[in-house]
């Protein structure tokens, strides 16, 4: 053992990279467990100080997994939410396993203009060093409605089982990310699984059972809706409008609508959840293994939504020679999801909107019969399989270390759908999807440590990485099969027939797409250490991406960082400060484009569709090619966009580290980003992609951690930790030196934030036509985009005084990314009892309550038969106070209740009690710990989640709104969950 013993610093360095790259520490057999390096004990961690740490303090946060492990999360995003300062997670629905969850590290790097953009801002997640491949958003190209991607739409990061995880580290700053390159441009999340360990023969078993609690709502029926609408009809309706009063509201004797509203019994339900898993670790110092298997079932509080997950992992490490380590992992997951049954999602998938003039009845019998159709005759299967693995060799000869590794990640999604004719105007519908994402990564790293003298050392490192990705899907949907008993799309199997492989029964549309992209990286890194007082690091790297044009394929980027230990040098004898460390860094990293359209430059593709049918591809039966008029012109010479980040931080410990704090300031510039710039319509193009958009995100992060009561065994101890992050974004430049542009309804103004709501300001109502002012100069009547106002119309504020209300009268109001996010958690222990509670908050953030705007805008919504106007079964609940809103004429052509006005912007700040856990460790009882091992535990615990929310927001759950802060009312709320569990290590 002693032979392999390294000096602490070296050990740390090695472990930093090994862990960073997913290498099992224990396999080397020379791990130093006794010596404590400075970096091992810093309280940079937002959670527990007791957490085992591998990484340096530079912009890396570790998660307090010991506490988080007691909470029943269903995805990685939920685990991260609130646990790390500076990471904002937006979930759009409480539906377990849905793909609609986003993570943003240190703010919003670009405006979210299209549905695909949210994919562009996600951090990369590494599992044991393998950068996990996610879905590519290219399937949106063939979709008429983009609420959800086609396919299972399951969150691929639901595959993570916390009981299988050793650590989760979040890489925030550019300097820390530099060594990982463009994949970490939006930050990175490192997940390290528990691994085989030398000399540790252990069996672990974890399980919980519990319940998700249903929501309590006040159901409504047609009388409520009639009472809501009648005042508008009485005040503004013409006789013809009166004749058009919806049929379902007209007849008060109609039992279906005016009868009992008892749908809630079938929609909101208490649902069981559970988790069960176990692992075995064993072996010797020359070879060891670990096996893990588990199953988790998560549930939503409504619409019978569920996620079932099965995980199995196997790890093995071997030392065939003393200087050579061979290790390997295989991790497989299966996800099975029961999706919601909302009409909107169903019609969007069918790309067909039936007549929406009457909502479904609020009666249990009618709603129940629809659910029976789902249950007995429909098919809605969503499955994902994912497998990751690696094989690595590590040769260590004296001061030279060489690592070579091949890793892969493959995941596939399958979705099979059949809706019988009884659910859809007498037609049936079938769809089948198969898609996969595949990534292979080859890494080679060479390290050399050079001692200048006793005090100074130089660590050199160079590496190369090659990554090859493939995304592919096949999708077909069909209408109108001949029978509800044939639930699959059968094709003609006779190779001689001219109908060979054509569908026999359904009217089928087929889609397929495939994208390959490669990334090659080369980097060098040098670190100079002067004792433990000063450390300087420089990284230089060059990255080549197949998604960039040949003329600008490679991007060179540097990073430098410095750490200076003030405690060791200036404050040696100071008793208040037990630690004081300054760090600063500057870095530049290239940003990857996930879309392969840009590499080709000017190009031709299929652009035959229109708004109602975007995927049309043929004319006269032949495939066609044209310029990409709809998506936008792409020229030559598109340079890499990049992230440039400056970061300063201070780590301090007081009173023998009982109080520890970290404070960081950053300024992050995402530069030279591509933006579809509006071009003259006479070119035929909607836009031309130009690079040159710069967005700055700046902010501060604070972590405070205190051992308030430092009890020894048998006494009460209390640890409290608080993290908070402030972030603001600002548009610094637009392509071509423009100062502002309007893309769709989103206005971008240089100097303003990019997450603003641009809205009209309301100043009362015109009670009659005579109140509408006239421009004394031109005698033009006060108008909305040329359309004169009338009595009953809102009086919007005319900012530029031109007597015309249009886009230039909109003001930036509110922002959808919170200014402050954070977490406050407390941990009490008394003897073997433990109590945790955990608050999460997001403050300084606004929500556009489109759900309410839609309720008021019933005339327009119903008139257009728009899919956004589908009334779900949840239409039948009273969830807003109509008296708080002004009364306008809903028939007015100015669309009085348009959602882009200030009355629908609300304060969306909230504070949530995210979890409370009570635990008791029985390991002291000797019959439960027969081998008397220190690492054994036998923990029983209870956890409750989402117990209460404090918010001024009047709509639904402020935690679940769209990525751009729009609450459409379609998301399920975050469920309250209660579980009882055990965690056993023997």
């Amino acid at each position: 053992m002693n032979k392999h013993r390294l000096i602490p610093c070296q050990c740390l360095l090695v472990s930093f990279f090994l862990v960073g790259l997913g290498f099992p520490l224990s396999g080397f057999g020379f791990q130093d467990t006794t010596s404590r390096s400075k970096k091992d004990t810093v309280a940079a961690d937002s959670g527990s100080v007791k957490l085992r740490r591998f990484v340096s303090v530079k912009n890396v946060d570790s998660l307090p997994l010991k506490q988080l492990g007691l909470i029943p999360f269903s995805s990685l995003q939920q685990v991260i939410k609130g646990s790390v300062a500076g990471v904002y997670v937006q979930e759009t629905s409480g539906e377990p396993g849905t793909t609609e969850q986003s993570m943003m590290i240190r703010g919003l790097p670009m405006p979210l203009l299209s549905r695909k953009d949210i994919y562009q801002v996600q951090p990369t997640v590494y599992l044991n060093g393998i950068p996990l491949i996610q879905d590519n958003p290219f399937m949106f190209d063939v979709q008429r409605f983009s609420y959800l991607p086609i396919g299972p739409a399951t969150n691929l990061l639901s595959t993570i089982d916390l009981d299988n995880i050793e650590s989760i580290n979040v890489i925030k700053g550019g300097a820390a990310a530099a060594v990982y390159g463009p994949r970490a441009a939006n930050g990175a999340i490192f997940i390290t699984t528990k691994n085989a360990q030398e000399g540790l023969n252990q069996i672990s078993f974890n399980s919980y059972y519990g319940m998700v609690q249903k929501d309590q709502v006040t159901p409504a029926n047609a009388k409520n809706e009639n009472d809501f609408r009648m005042p508008f009809y009485n005040k503004f309706a013409s006789p013809a409008d009166m004749d058009n009063y919806p049929a379902y509201l007209r007849d008060a004797t109609n039992e279906n609508y005016y009868g009992p509203s008892n749908w809630t019994d079938l929609y909101y339900k208490n649902s069981p959840v559970h988790n069960i898993n176990g692992s075995i670790t064993g072996g010797t110092s020359r070879s060891n293994f670990r096996f893990f298997a588990g199953n988790t079932k998560s549930a939503g509080n409504a619409d019978d939504t569920k996620l079932d997950k099965y995980v199995a992992s196997f790890f093995i490490n071997m030392l065939p020679l003393k200087w050579l380590t061979v290790s390997s992992m295989i991790n497989a997951t299966r996800l099975d999801r029961d999706r919601n049954k909302s009409f909107r999602d169903r019609f969007a998938e069918m790309q067909y909107v039936p007549d929406l003039s009457s909502p479904i009845s609020p009666n249990k019998l009618i709603y129940g019969s629809l659910l029976d159709e789902y249950k007995n005759r429909a098919i809605d299967k969503n499955k994902n399989n994912a497998v990751q693995g690696y094989f690595s060799l590590n040769a260590k000869i004296k001061d030279i270390d060489f690592i070579s590794r091949i890793g892969f990640d493959y995941n596939e999604g399958l979705r099979d759908v059949f809706y019988p004719s009884t659910m859809f105007d007498g037609n049936n519908f079938v769809s089948n999807y198969f898609g996969y994402n595949q990534r292979v990564v080859i890494d080679n790293i060479l390290r050399y440590k050079y001692h200048l003298n006793e005090q100074q050392s130089l660590n050199l490192e160079a590496g190369h990485s090659f990554q090859a990705d493939v995304n592919k899907y096949n999708y077909a949907f069909g209408y109108k099969g001949s029978s509800d008993y044939i639930k699959i799309n059968v094709v003609n199997g006779d190779p001689k027939s001219d109908q060979y492989l054509l569908p026999k029964d359904f009217i089928v549309s087929r889609f397929t797409d495939r994208q390959k992209s490669n990334l090659s990286s080369l980097y060098a890194k040098a670190t100079y250490n002067f004792k433990e007082d000063l450390s300087l690091t420089a990284v230089a790297r060059t990255d080549g991406s197949s998604n960039m044009q040949p003329s600008a394929r490679w991007f060179f980027s540097p990073a430098i960082s410095a750490d200076y230990n003030l405690k060791n040098t200036l404050l040696k004898d100071n008793s208040t400060f037990s630690k004081l460390l300054l760090s600063a860094s500057w870095s530049r990293i290239g940003k990857l484009i996930s879309d392969d359209h840009f590499a080709a430059g000017p190009q031709y593709n299929v652009d035959l569709g229109w708004s109602g049918n975007p995927a049309f591809y043929s004319y006269g039966g032949f495939g066609t090619l044209s310029r990409p008029y709809t998506t936008g012109w792409i020229g030559y010479d598109i340079p890499w966009s990049y992230v440039q980040e400056t970061n300063v931080g201070i780590d301090a410990g007081f009173f023998n580290n009982r109080l520890q704090t970290r404070f960081e300031l950053y300024s992050k510039n995402n530069n030279r980003m591509l933006l579809p710039m509006p071009v003259n319509a006479e070119s035929g193009y909607t836009a031309a992609y130009q690079s040159g958009m710069d967005v700055n995100n700046s902010g501060a992060e604070l972590i405070l951690q205190a051992e308030v009561l430092k009890g020894t065994k048998g006494q009460l101890s209390w640890t409290s930790s608080f993290n908070a992050a402030y972030n603001q974004n600002k548009l610094k430049a637009l392509p071509g030196g423009m100062s502002e542009i309007l893309i769709g309804t989103q206005k971008l103004v240089v100097g303003q934030a990019i997450d603003k709501f641009w809205v009209l300001q309301t100043h009362g109502v015109f009670n009659s036509d005579v109140e509408v002012p006239v421009d004394p100069k031109t005698f033009q009547i006060f108008n909305y985009k040329g359309l004169p106002f009338h009595g009953g119309d809102p009086r919007w504020k005319d900012l530029n005084g031109d007597y015309t209300i249009n886009e230039s009268d909109k003001v930036p109001l509110g922002n959808y990314i919170p200014k402050f996010t954070g977490n406050f958690s407390n941990q009490f222990t008394y003897g073997d009892f433990g109590l945790n509670f955990n608050f999460y908050f997001a403050l300084g953030r606004n929500i556009l309550n489109q759900a309410v705007a839609g309720r008021f805008d019933f005339i327009n919504r119903k008139g257009t038969n728009d899919i956004a106007a589908v009334d779900e079964i949840t239409f039948w609940q009273t969830n807003f106070d109509a008296s708080k809103y002004p009364v306008y004429n809903p028939w007015s052509a100015v669309q009085s209740y348009r959602s882009d006005q200030d009355i629908f912007i609300e304060n969306g700040s909230y504070l949530k009690l995210r979890s409370v856990s009570l635990s008791y460790d029985l390991a002291r009882l000797s019959f439960l710990n027969p081998r008397k091992r220190a690492q054994s535990k036998f923990l029983v615990y209870m956890t409750a989640t989402n117990l209460f929310t404090i918010t001024p927001y009047t709509g639904g759950d402020p935690e679940v709104v769209g990525y751009t802060g729009i609450d459409t009312g379609y998301g399920l709320s975050m469920p309250k969950t209660y579980i009882l569990g055990i965690k056993v290590d023997l």
């Binding site: 007549d355 003039s357 105007d425 050079y450 394929r553 359209h597 000017p602 066609t624």
Partner: protein, 512 residues
């Protein structure tokens, strides 16, 4: 071991060899970074073979179809304004019918943008600019084939300009590709645009065949892109189509002598293109004139079921059909019974008339007349000409013109030129095929009779508004309409979005 130090030379050597290995790796990878995308064709790989010209040619047609189909634009531009249809609950349709073309509804705003038509023009310009490259590289792409293709692109571009100038009046005239330069251009006076369209069409008609893929065609005999007539009937612009468009260009320009000449050519040569007058039954059958693609569609843009191109919107059916023909309980627009009765006021009209014997409606145009829900069902091509309306997937073509329309246009030109006999003859051709007797009224009433016939015959084909404009240009009897014409109020406003993208554009004066 801790103090072990390498010889500097060895260390240097190792670093050097390491770097060398990495360099080799990297250069190998550079090739790996050249990936041709599977969902696009780059500049390097296009304009190489005859398949590329076919794809680009048909792509241009497809863009025109998309422009006319988007939000049912063809009818929203042509049929609604001041027309005979009423909207049920769609406020945007009501706004168009009521001439509130600046109403801020998304559909109305979107229709005020001409971008989709300029995509057609850009695509045609590109074809004209680049197609010759293929001739040099692919022997299959013959000079003759090239000429026919170029003629189609000239004609299609001219049609797009004509279509736009009917909607917006003055529009920028762009004759070349200017790839990636996005130069802004002013609006060109509508007379010049029409003049350009006419000259382009006149050039094109020389090379256009009567039928594509026909071995007997006098202009371009033989297969076209390897396909016979079945593939191309009703799909591409023929010589007759081009003359039909020419007639319309001239009429819109109020040059009736030329118009009558062009229309005459169509009437005389329609049979060469396989077009003829149709019975009312053929016109309105589910598998009749509008269904799929056929030679009677003198110029149409098909959504052929046989090509698997049926779609949900881009069809008059999407606007007008409802129960009992399709599932939707009420149509988006309908014609009030009173209007129907006032338009169809002659006995024995197969399109619509009241049987004097029993007072019942006899009609091929409407369903459920007299009920509270009268459906305009002249065009009802559901899927494969099915009568099962549970799935509203339609296969009717967007038809610009057919022989009856050109006959009436010819009659109109002749009547304006005071050449009443040929005018009445042409009018009677249409009347007779609809079960009506010959026109017997005075010569002074011929023009009115022609326009009345157009209103009935072309109902739901996107003509009503333009017919009103032409009628009032001739008659000048309606003071309000005169004012509309003189102030350019007959045109649509240009959307704010389009105006903001090109600083040289000015809004139509009427809508300022």
């Amino acid at each position: 071991m801790k103090n072990m130090r390498f010889n500097t030379k060895i260390s240097f050597f190792r670093i050097f060899s390491g770097a060398l290995i990495l360099t080799v790796l990297m250069s190998g990878c550079n090739k790996k970074l050249d990936i041709d995308s599977t969902h696009l064709v780059n500049e390097k790989n296009n304009w190489k073979s005859i398949t590329d010209t076919r794809s680009a040619l048909l792509g241009t047609y497809g863009l025109l179809r998309a422009a006319m189909a988007d939000k049912n634009a063809h009818w929203l531009y042509g049929e609604l304004r001041n027309g005979d249809f009423q909207a049920t609950s769609r406020l945007d349709l009501k706004a168009i019918i009521g001439s509130n073309l600046n109403a801020p509804y998304p559909v109305v705003q979107s229709l005020s943008s001409w971008r989709r038509f300029y995509a057609v023009i850009n695509s045609a310009n590109l074809f004209i600019d680049r197609a010759h490259e293929v001739m040099a590289l692919d022997k299959q792409y013959t000079e003759k084939n090239y000429q026919v293709d170029i003629a189609q692109m000239h004609a299609l571009r001219a049609f797009a300009y004509f279509y736009m100038t009917r909607i917006w009046g003055d529009v920028p005239l762009i004759k070349s590709v200017n790839d990636g330069s996005f130069e802004q251009a002013k609006r060109t006076p509508k007379e010049d645009v029409l003049g350009y369209a006419e000259s382009e069409l006149l050039k094109a008609v020389q090379d256009l065949p009567y039928k594509y893929g026909d071995i007997f065609d006098p202009v371009f005999p033989g297969l076209y892109y390897g396909q016979g007539i079945a593939a191309w009937n009703g799909v591409l612009l023929t010589k007759v189509s081009a003359y039909a468009i020419l007639a319309h260009v001239a009429v819109w320009n109020e040059r009736y002598i030329d118009a009558s000449g062009y229309a005459r050519f169509v009437l005389d040569n329609a049979s060469k293109a396989g077009s003829s007058y149709m019975t009312t039954a053929l016109l309105t059958r589910v598998d009749g004139f509008f269904y799929d693609k056929n030679t009677n569609q003198i110029f149409g843009l098909p959504f052929a079921w046989s090509d698997r191109e049926a779609s949900l919107d881009g069809h008059i059916e999407d606007l007008t059909l409802a129960a009992p023909l399709v599932v939707r309980p009420v149509p988006q627009m309908f014609m009030p019974d009173q209007t129907i009765l006032s338009i169809f006021d002659e006995d024995k009209d197969e399109r619509f008339s009241i049987n004097a014997a029993n007072g019942r409606a006899v009609t091929d145009y409407f369903t459920g007349f007299g009920s509270s829900n009268t459906i305009f069902s002249k065009v009802k091509c559901i899927r494969n000409a099915s009568t099962d309306g549970s799935l509203g997937l339609f296969s009717s073509a967007i038809v610009f013109t057919r022989l009856e329309e050109i006959a009436l246009l010819y009659a109109e030109s002749m009547a304006v030129l005071d050449n009443m006999d040929p005018a009445i003859d042409a009018l009677d051709n249409v009347r007779l095929s609809r079960g009506l007797p010959r026109y017997t009224g005075p010569n002074s009433g011929v023009l009115d009779a022609i326009f009345k016939e157009r209103r009935r015959e072309l109902m739901g084909e996107g003509w009503r508004w333009y017919d009103q404009v032409r009628y009032n240009r001739i008659k000048k009897s309606d003071t309000q309409f005169n004012k509309l014409i003189s102030t350019n109020g007959i045109f649509w406003p240009i959307s704010q979005d389009v105006l903001s993208r090109n600083s040289l554009l000015v809004q139509n004066e009427y809508w300022r």
